[in-house]
């Protein structure tokens, strides 16, 4: 069980490269949720990527170079909130290993200790209370592997959805099975990845939900891409954006 800090006045926001480029609305929604709770949010503009794509693909030096840059952009002792279990996992769990033999080792450990995935932060640090102003809807939830196994935040994510009284959450039959994204895995082993995402899409369709929610944009990009390719009329959305829309009706 991770120990959480008391509610701070200020937090950093690490958007992640996928949110920055493909899902910026989700990023803004997350920032707004934090601001709504009275926090000052700082978005260091020089940020880019956590380095995971290179780290997982056999290019640790390149990953380290990019990670090193991020390490210096969040110098004050504010928590670093990340709208992705995967990127949060990279920074919280893997940065210390990435810098273990490096002069920035101490910095990476200090940094890693301040990284929080968005939903765990909303639940454990802010104790956020949500009032649902939307019309009834059924959704399902995709557990990203790193949110599940590296950050352990699935219960937190689902508890936020369950606070929304007009939202029915239907769980997937094989919720814990990987969707097949795996970063470069999707292009290095495309047929296996396609088989995995096809099964995930079928599982989602079977719930009858109109939307699949997730906390990870890599997975969402993969799953919605497959759903659209198969012309399955289920949409996908990042949980931050979904929550923001629900509390505003």
């Amino acid at each position: 069980m991770r120990s959480y800090p008391p509610k701070p006045e200020t937090v950093y926001f690490f958007g992640t490269c996928l949110v920055d480029m493909v899902y910026p609305d989700a990023g803004m929604a997350a920032i707004r949720l934090l601001q709504r709770e009275g926090l000052r949010v700082v978005y260091p503009r020089a940020q880019s990527c956590c380095g995971q794509p290179a780290y997982n693909s056999g290019f640790p030096d390149e990953a380290r170079a990019v990670a090193r840059k991020q390490l210096r952009l969040f110098p004050k002792d504010y928590p670093i909130v990340v709208p992705s279990g995967s990127c949060a996992g990279m920074m919280h769990r893997h940065y210390p290993a990435l810098f273990a033999e490096d002069s920035d080792r101490a910095l990476s450990e200090e940094f890693a200790g301040r990284v929080f995935e968005l939903t765990e932060f909303l639940v454990h640090v802010l104790q956020i209370r949500l009032e649902d102003r939307g019309a009834p809807v059924t959704v399902t939830w995709h557990s990203s592997c790193h949110a599940l196994r590296e950050m352990g935040v699935i219960r937190d994510s689902k508890s936020l959805i369950r606070q929304l009284k007009n939202v029915t959450l239907l769980e997937l039959e094989n919720e814990h099975e990987c969707c097949g994204f795996g970063g470069t895995f999707a292009v290095k082993q495309p047929e296996i990845s396609a088989a995995m995402v096809a099964d995930k899409a079928a599982d989602i369709r079977q719930t009858g939900a109109t939307t699949v929610l997730g906390g990870d944009c890599g997975c969402l990009m993969n799953i919605t891409g497959a759903l659209q390719h198969q012309r399955v009329p289920v949409t996908g959305q990042h949980i931050a954006q979904f929550i923001w829309e629900r509390i505003h009706g």
């Binding site: 958007g15 480029m21 803004m28 920032i31 056999g58 995995m196």
Partner: protein, 476 residues
């Protein structure tokens, strides 16, 4: 020394993914194994405690490996077990052959042994006029089919009962066609009982070898292992050198982890602990017991502080059961003795990266295997290390074949990625350009592959960087 075997992973994968029957068989089987394991390790906290113990037992054994092997040898020898050492599978095969020839033996009955698969023992002996009968039911089935195991624990998992019924009917004399599992088992029992009776040498693997007492421990459900190690006058046990444990008290927790993880059982039907051949006055049991200790690359693996964790493996097979990739392509696609996550880290180290490094690409790093490994091998981390080794420009001799994948396009691509991501101004330009293209970027390279199965992502007009600036979010 690795020889290229014509291993075409991509072709195997395509074939496996296209085989609907295979996918159906594996999906059912792996789902079932996952469920069984979950029931027997229902208390997650207890499982975490137990596997921390498992990890400690295995790492302790590896930390003291040469002393423990020497102690094992001394105890075994004092008890009358003859110990042989083999650096290579060739030496191991030669040792087995020599023992058989010394006894004029031409009939061997075998219990299941993955090490004997590494040795390609059956093929070796059969080419020299020795009849080898696999007696584990799954191994018996694939022997009839002329195949290799597709799973570490349930070797014939890729076959359904119709396929097995046809196999028995066609390959076993005087056997009617039946799909009833009870009847198929009865046929196997009848056929193999005669082989146990006639067997001149019994061969087994070793699940754990206790250095403290010189005891070889074996788990099984069918009774064929006990038959092979008790009825014939000679018993040969073959073992990977990492299978030794220090103390007898290490056995109960490891046994619990092994049977729970492998088959979802609290304990197998039999747990067989062998300390010596037949002692004076005893009426049965083999007159000679031999232990063949095989290296086959393990000693090199031990020298690497990260990769040595591979040797903690107790061959439970649960990583296979939980792997979404293995579930979809099955064991044969991996083309080598050990499939699945453990195979992805072990095989490249044994066979070299040129031959088997491609196996390390067959993972989305989902971590499902690591979460259930009873001895806490950090499999995804080691897959990542193998990927690093595949591309490294500075080989250190950790794994044979380092740097085999280095190529200019990928090197340049990642260098470019690095430059863009550590240069905010450049990142902003690239982001802006991508935003202008939206989802209309030319479908080349990775995007082309992506678009085969998914609609391409649309890069937003305005990035989060731009939005935060526009909305006045602080920048410190």
């Amino acid at each position: 020394m690795a020889e290229t075997t014509g291993f075409d992973f991509a072709k195997n994968i395509r074939q496996a993914l296209g085989d609907q029957q295979l996918r159906k068989n594996f999906k059912f089987a792996m789902g079932s194994m996952i469920q069984k394991r979950r029931l027997v390790f229902a208390d997650e906290e207890e499982f975490e405690q137990l596997r921390a113990i498992g990890q400690a037992i295995r790492t302790r054994a590896l930390a003291k490996l040469p002393e423990l092997l020497a102690q094992l040898e001394a105890r075994c020898t004092a008890n009358g077990i003859q110990v042989h050492w083999a650096e290579t599978t060739e030496e191991a095969n030669a040792t087995v052959l020599e023992i058989m020839q010394r006894h004029g033996a031409t009939r061997m009955v075998k219990g299941k042994s993955m090490v004997s698969e590494e040795m390609h023992l059956n093929h070796f002996l059969e080419a020299r006029g020795i009849a080898v009968t696999e007696t584990d039911l799954g191994e018996f089935i694939i022997q009839l089919a002329g195949e290799t195991p597709s799973h570490i624990i349930v070797p014939a998992i890729h076959k359904n009962k119709e396929q097995i019924a046809r196999l028995f009917h066609e390959k076993i004399p005087d056997t009617p066609y039946t799909e009833k599992v009870e009847e198929l088992n009865a046929i196997a029992r009848r056929t193999l009982r005669q082989r146990f009776f006639d067997g001149q040498v019994g061969l087994s693997g070793v699940n754990m070898a206790v250095a403290e007492t010189g005891t070889l421990c074996l788990v099984e459900n069918e009774g064929n292992g006990r038959m092979c190690t008790t009825v014939p006058p000679v018993h040969i046990a073959v073992m990977g050198l990492e299978k030794v444990v220090e103390k007898l008290s290490d056995v109960p927790p490891l046994l619990r982890l092994l049977t729970g993880s492998a088959t979802g059982q609290l304990i197998t039907t039999y747990f067989n602990m062998i300390t010596s051949p037949r002692r004076p006055g005893e009426k049965d049991g083999p007159l000679e017991v031999h232990l063949v200790i095989l290296d086959n690359g393990r000693s090199r693996i031990l020298t690497d502080p990260q990769f040595r964790q591979t040797l903690q493996c107790i061959r439970c097979g649960t990583c296979l059961n939980h792997c979404p990739v293995y579930t979809r392509i099955g064991g044969h696609a991996f083309g080598h003795v050990y499939p699945g996550p453990i195979g992805e880290i072990l095989t490249p180290q044994m066979e070299g990266l040129q031959e088997a490094g491609v196996l390390a690409t067959a993972s989305s790093l989902c971590n499902a295997c690591e979460a259930v490994c009873p001895v806490k091998i950090p499999i995804p981390g080691l897959i990542r290390e193998l990927r690093n080794a595949s591309y490294t420009a500075t080989p250190t001799g950790r794994v044979p074949g380092e740097g085999f994948k280095r190529n200019l396009p990928e090197t340049l691509a990642w260098k470019a990625w690095e430059k863009v991501n550590r240069t905010p101004a450049l990142n902003a330009v690239v982001t802006r350009l991508a935003g202008l293209l939206g989802d209309k970027a030319p479908r080349l390279g990775p995007l082309k592959i992506w678009s085969r199965y998914r609609t391409p992502p649309r890069v937003a007009r305005r990035s989060l960087h731009a939005m935060t600036r526009a909305q006045g979010v602080d920048n410190e």
